[in-house]
């Protein structure tokens, strides 16, 4: 393995093909990142290695073992470290997913590397990420020879599927080592609700709605549209104003309705990840600097407590 840049993803797990193509795009913007090696960790059952080599043109190293079917931090970290051997990559890129953000810091400590997470922009060796619920962008530079980066899904355009020659594929069996934690399985969270998935219009509440009582206005607004559902940001669910069945976001549900009305939602990356694909996004928020306005097609800067009654009145009157 002589690439200076590595991309690490699961063979079977949560990194989607789209996210993998975005990672390749990102890697190519890194200094010396022109020809990244993609390391896929998982069982030998899937043919994802060949497919990935064909669509990206990148060399693929598949690390396989029956113990690598479900993500386990210690097993995955050991497999990658063993494969790295004496090579000294400059950049190791993972998707900013539950797996990526779990694995990246552990890898970094073992490699004496800097770890920078949820990256959404790059210029030279300066990486940009959002801080304070997306209110600010901050630039970070690593000070070590190796840097482990997690890249925010959706932040970089995916590499167009290549018609060039497929990259070479190497399969390498990894034997299991001792692990103090065991991954037992994956199950559907029983708190889910299918109404969000089927809705054409979603009216979502964020902490900016102010009070639990104001949720009734969100319901009323949703009631104006046929096939509408009420969504929520995570803080609203954590406060108990709406159940977790309503949560939109990376750890809730991913939705792509025809119309998404974000009420009092700041636009934290976790929420954006779940609704960016909506066809038309309207944001109402009292804070003109809220990150949600960067993604909205139409924005209204108003306090919801005063604005929603006026809007409902106009909707009824019209």
């Amino acid at each position: 393995m002589d690439s200076l840049t590595l991309i690490i993803a699961e063979q079977d797990g949560s990194t989607t093909s789209q996210e993998l193509l975005e990672l390749v795009s990102f890697a190519r913007m890194l200094p010396g990142g022109g020809n990244p090696t993609i390391v896929l960790v998982g069982t030998a059952r899937k043919d994802r290695a060949e497919k990935t080599a064909a669509t990206t043109g990148c060399p693929v190293l598949a690390l396989t073992g029956d113990h690598l079917g479900l993500y386990n931090p210690e097993a995955f970290c050991d497999a990658v470290l063993e494969a790295l051997g004496d090579t000294e990559p400059a950049w190791i890129c993972l998707a900013h997913t539950s797996t990526g953000v779990d694995l990246a810091p552990r890898l970094a400590v073992n490699l004496g590397a800097t770890c920078i997470t949820a990256v959404e922009g790059i210029s030279g060796t300066t990486l940009t990420r959002a801080v304070c619920a997306g209110r600010y962008c901050a630039d970070f530079t690593p000070s070590t020879a190796c840097t482990v980066v997690t890249v925010l899904p959706g932040a970089f355009p995916p590499l167009p599927a290549s018609t060039d020659t497929a990259g070479p594929v190497e399969h390498r069996a990894v034997s299991p080592g001792p692990c103090r934690s065991r991954t037992l399985g994956i199950a559907e969270n029983t708190h889910r609700d299918s109404s969000l998935k089927d809705a054409e219009v979603i009216v979502s509440a964020g902490r900016g709605v102010g009070t639990r009582e104001n949720i009734s206005m969100i319901r009323e607004l949703a009631g104006v549209f046929p096939r509408a559902a009420v969504g929520a940001s995570r803080p609203v669910c954590d406060l108990g104003w709406l159940g977790y069945a309503h949560q939109v976001g990376s750890t809730g549900q991913t939705v792509s309705p025809k119309l998404y009305i974000a009420c009092g939602i700041s636009g934290a990356i976790q929420h954006l990840a779940g609704m960016r694909g909506s066809q038309l996004i309207i944001a109402i928020n009292a804070d003109p600097d809220a990150a949600i306005f960067r993604f909205a097609h139409y924005g209204i800067v108003e306090d919801l407590t005063t604005f929603l009654p006026i809007l409902l009145e106009e909707l009824r009157g019209g």
């Binding site: 949560s14 962008c137 991954t183 549209f225 954590d238 750890t251 990356i269 993604f295 106009e314």
Partner: protein, 259 residues
Amino acid sequence: MKILACVKQVPDSSDTMAITPEGSRVVPTAATVFRMNRYDEFALEEALLMKERIPGTEVHAVTVGPERAGSTLRRALETGADHGIHILTPEVAYLDPFAVASLIASWARTRDYDLILAGVMAEDDMEGQTGQLLAAILDLPCVTSVMEARVRPADNEIDLEREIEGGLRMSVLTRMPAVLTIQSGINTPRYPSLSHVLRARRQAFEVMAMDGPALPGPLSRCTGVRLPEISSQGVIIAGTPREKARELVRILHEHAFLA
């Protein structure tokens, strides 16, 4: 059992923060109020629930930060932590997560904690690394984004559910000692009780001053901060609230969302 809960002090709202004129960092202003990171409130509460369920459990709270962070540690004691450790650092604009994790590790290394709990991320820097870094530095297993934790002290094990994408849960079993990062919504954080407030008032917490050479060198440096660019595709609707509402209704009609 001995549990360490990591709590960070964060600004109550980023609205009151300001970018320095040279654009290198975000700093608090006179209007900035500080409080405990909400994710860490869930971690502290989980530690206190374990203490209630498992006799003989002790909960320590640790914070890394300048003088003012002491008030967040005080709050942890008022909420029910038995002991507080303030790893005192100079007032710097950005302390990278590796430095924070190294400092906590230097405290925890020799103190035989069975569990170390932290929030999944801090609301201000949103890096989500400290727990995992701490586990790797101390060579402990780590489970992130925990939504359910059942400790089995007799077996020295803990059954966990962690939240992953698409509303799925991953079941994990880990041996202790271990580090857990706690996801919001796992419990309902309690408020301080009068008895704890009175006890905390009398109770001193330990202060470890860390400056100069004692402060681990940062691995990443924050070199600039700015407001994000507003995307050009979006339209901000202007006017009085009534005019904005009428314009929005017109747009909804135009896109055929209203009958």
